[in-house]
């Protein structure tokens, strides 16, 4: 079934569950294998966790948006926030344990068929978009 679902939640760790559930549901409707769904849940976990940890200062309540787009044989997910945006050095660096958000992106890169990272829809914040074909 083709279509787009947009989920918006507070940028708090307890709401990660809802993003994962959305992926499960849309993934199954789209006919993805359980393996692909598990991979996508993992990727969405990394992306949402990044936003929860880094996007907003501790006292500012922010939101995270997860868009899921299903089309024939493909599921695309975009996780965006309206926060501070990716700083330099968020990409993996020459250290034994890369910066948390950098590691998250490495993991998504390892899982998804495509990934792109940039500013959010109106130039603010961050948007991590990735897709899996199945």
């Amino acid at each position: 079934m083709n279509g787009r679902v947009v989920l918006e939640v507070p940028a708090k760790p307890e709401y990660l569950l809802l993003a994962r559930l959305a992926v499960t549901s849309v993934g199954r409707s789209a006919g993805a294998s359980e393996e692909t769904i598990a991979d996508l849940k993992l990727a969405v976990t990394e992306a949402v966790a990044n936003a929860v940890k880094h996007a907003y200062p501790p006292d500012i309540p922010g939101r995270v948006t997860v868009e899921l787009t299903a089309s024939a044989g493909r599921l695309e997910i975009a996780v965006s926030d309206q926060g501070r945006g990716l700083a330099d050095g968020d990409e993996p660096t020459a250290s034994e344990v890369p910066a948390e958000s950098g590691m998250g992106l490495s993991i998504i890169r390892a899982i998804a068929d495509e990934i792109d990272v940039g500013a959010g829809p109106d130039g603010r914040g961050t948007r991590v978009r990735f897709a899996c074909g199945f």
Binding site: L17, R20, L21, T24, E34, E35, A38, D39, L42, T45, E46, P92, T93, A94, S95, E96, V97, P98, M103, S106, I107, R109, A110, I111
Partner: protein, 247 residues
């Protein structure tokens, strides 16, 4: 680029087969393995297992590393470590075909739900259900939702199929039902239902009993009450719409 010290170790291992050099490299990068394994903690697999599995991924990455490519070893190793951890989950979690696992879990949850209701005096929360059955909340929710599809009778295991004997209080329900005006829309909706469904709807909406109370009184599982209620509401809605059209 790998640091000079790391380079030396890599050369010693990759070009000269020095296994101790490889072991030193593994030791150096174990914090990375732990950091990755910890991300998948609490999903039903012991973290130490994940660390072991991740370490295998690290060794594989070191074996395959190419110095000339100019990438950082830690960066290079992340996908392989993660890949091993994912594979571990896959092998452990999907040994059994997923739909069957979900169905088995949903049956256990159904039983547990009724047991906990009796103990607590109310329907349990997802957290209480998940803890009682020993799965994480996400899996519990998935299985609870799966059981909502109208399963054909054959999938209702004996636990669900127990037809209760006539339950006292039926007279009250009949009275409640009869008290609705004959021509009323609600009565027409109820008329469309089979007897057992009607009873559930009357208990729920005219007597205001909760699903868990109804399950206890009628002697069927809460899951069954929920299914009957869903099905009834759909049927009633259909009948109410028909009525509107002809009115």
């Amino acid at each position: 680029m790998p640091s000079d010290a790391q380079r030396a170790l890599l050369v010693a291992y990759l070009e000269n087969g020095d296994v101790r050099a490889r072991d030193r490299l593994v030791e150096e990068l174990m914090p990375l393995v732990r950091s990755l394994a910890n991300r998948y903690a609490g999903r039903g697999e012991p973290t130490e297992d994940l660390v072991q599995v991740g370490a295998i991924g690290l060794v594989k990455a070191i074996d395959r590393f190419e110095l000339e490519k100019g990438v950082e070893l830690s960066t290079y190793a992340v996908p392989t470590i993660v890949g091993e951890i994912r594979r571990h989950f896959r092998d452990r979690t999907w040994g059994v075909h997923v739909p069957r696992r979900l169905k088995e879990l949903s049956m256990r949850l159904s039983r547990t739900r009724d047991e906990l209701s009796a103990e607590l005096g109310r329907s349990p929360t997802v957290a209480e259900l998940a803890e009682a059955v020993g799965v994480d909340e996400e899996e519990a929710i998935d299985a609870l939702e799966a059981s909502k599809a109208y399963a054909p009778r054959s999938l209702d295991q004996p636990y669900d199929d127990d037809e209760p004997a006539r339950v006292p209080g039926l007279a009250d329900e009949e009275r409640g039902y009869a008290a609705l005006e004959r021509g009323s829309v609600v009565r027409q909706g109820l008329d469309a239902l089979e007897e057992r469904e009607r009873r559930i709807v009357v208990l729920r909406f005219l007597r205001g009993m909760s699903q868990s109370e109804i399950a206890a009184e009628v002697g069927i599982s809460q899951m069954h009450v929920s299914r009957l209620l869903r099905k009834s509401l759909e049927t009633m809605r259909g009948r109410l719409e028909e009525t509107e059209v002809t009115a």
